[in-house]
């Protein structure tokens, strides 16, 4: 945790995880997401899991190409993070829970 913790305490995070069926990747993504949220946004988040296999129209409407994709719908602006979120550091940066500069390549 750094001082640059930009999240205001009263904000509710609306997250949506797009998956394509119950694959190991989507399961891993969901678990990683839960872990991150519990750690950084306890009690201030909602996660909606969208299975594109049963709802392919949403892939088009929400411009999803890769799965799993995590979309931060709120707070604005919309952010997209693809992958199973196993790279926690990059996931945090992607969700803007951590500044970009701190990521080591």
């Amino acid at each position: 945790m750094t001082a640059l913790h930009a999240v205001k305490s009263e904000e509710i995070w609306e997250l949506r995880l797009y998956t394509a069926g119950r694959t190991p990747k989507s399961v891993a993504a969901f678990e990683n997401l839960k872990r991150i949220c519990e750690e950084h946004l306890p009690g201030r988040y909602t996660v909606e899991v969208v299975d594109l296999v049963s709802n392919p129209r949403l892939a088009r409407d929400d411009q999803i190409v890769a799965v799993p994709t995590l979309v931060r719908k709120l707070p604005e602006p919309i952010r997209k993070v693809v992958g199973d979120l196993s790279d926690t550091e990059r996931a945090l940066v992607g969700l803007q829970l951590r500044p970009r500069a701190s990521v080591q390549k």
């Binding site: 891993a28 890769a66 993070v81 992958g83 996931a91």
Partner: protein, 585 residues
Amino acid sequence: MKRDNGAVKSFPGAQRTLPKSATGIHGLDQITGGGLPKGRPTLICGGAGCGKTLFGLEFLVHGATDFGEPGAFITFEETGDELAQNVRSLGFDLDQLVKDNKIAIDYVRVERNEIDETGDYDLEGLFLRIGLAIDSVGAKRVVLDTIESLFAGFENLAVLRAELRRLFRWLKDRGVTAVITGERGGNTLTRQGLEEYVSDCVILLDHRVSDQVSTRRLRVVKYRGTTHGTSEYPFLIDEGGISVLPITALGLDHEVSDERIPSGIPRLDTMLGGKGYYKGSSILVSGTAGTGKTSIACSLAYETARRGGRCLYLAFEESPAQLTRNMRSIGMDFGPYLEKGLIRMHASRPNYFGLEAHLVQIHKMVVDFDPEVVIIDPISNFASSANPRDTSAMLLRVVDFLKGRQITALLTHLTNGANVLEATDVGISSIIDTWLLVRDIELGGERNRGLYVLKSRGMHHSNQIREFLITSAGIQLQDVYVGPEGVLTGSMRAAQEDREKTAEVARQQAAERREREINRQRTALEAQIAALRAEFDALDSEAQLLCRQDETQQRAVLAARDAAAARRGADKPNGSKPKRGETAL
């Protein structure tokens, strides 16, 4: 757009080994022997602005409208609206096709700066979207334009490559005919080496500029399981979409005709065995500037229209209006025929666009108008806009194409004064059947035109030079005067003819004079004869008169003697019967 479906059959490679999916793109189906491999992906690669997207769109639109195969367009670069706008000028109503459920468009936006990668992923989302697009219209054709954009959006190349491989496999499994476009790379066909994944058919589009003239070319790099033309074929993008010109596919096996068509100059027909040009032959009229090449060409056009045939006039020097005006001055009014649509004129500058573009345009106009005669006036200007080899190749293609369709082609060629007259600087003399040469004959301080038939395959033709007069009643050919002083033309010929005429008149007058003299003499003699006869008659009648007088006198003497004897009672001499009273004695 009219399509040349008959030509597909003529391609020898069109065997039924591989099912094909016709693109509907003018000419391409001919090169590929029927179209793209059905149910397989085809890679279309080329640099920026070479027409990849249009290729894909045409493939879909023709599929949906002409072949009853709906299509899905997955675009990574432009939105559906942008696409629709871009092709509206080509007469494709994409919006309507989408509304009619014949085409599905999905714009896949991939923005690198919106996406962070946090581990393992796949592109199942894309698969689902393509699947959705296919299912929504029952697509048989899919275009991915251009899938390489994914490489800009994702950094994990291993995942991308694996997914692309899977994607193409998946497209094949779904049985759709796919067109995948890719940007041309430095040493590879595509920047990301897509050709590794798409191995059934690869078509390369190329757009190059040489001598400030841009030409587009298309080449089928690879087409598994089928023979195909391997050359570079010029193609054109215009208001009718893409047209490819597979002209070199034509061999020398076109039909020939014994039919003749009049040239519009009766005397010229006489020179050409009495009947004019062969139908479907190629005629070259060459000569220096101002020798009347265009007039000869126009005579053919006029005559053809007069007979009710269609003539396409491609003017590369004069505007149609100017040409019409000029021809009216020599007694050929194109107006009514232009109105009736028997003559169509098309004027453009040869260097306005590349040779290929001209070629394609000629191709299209000919297919569209289906003329009996095509006139290209002049061909020499092409030589100035490109190198001679390209020009002659292009003209060869034009002539070949027209011959294949049994169209009579008349080309005019402006010979440079410095050049040999019996040669063209575009090197097409060998493909010409009838070659008329018009040249100026400078003699006696004036310049006249002479015409002769340099060659005319397959017919008896005159070897005489004719003087060629452009009069207000059209073109006339005159015999030149060939005498002891050589060949005379123009006013020298006229003067010579005058001299001959004067001599003739003098001779005639002398003859008349002689005749008159003889007549006069005859009349005089006849008069003399009459006089003599009169004299003779006079003498004759005098002689008769004298004779009669003599007789009368004699009779009178005898009568007097008898009377005296009777008085004397003398015997009748010679025992004559005694008279009455003598017996009584």
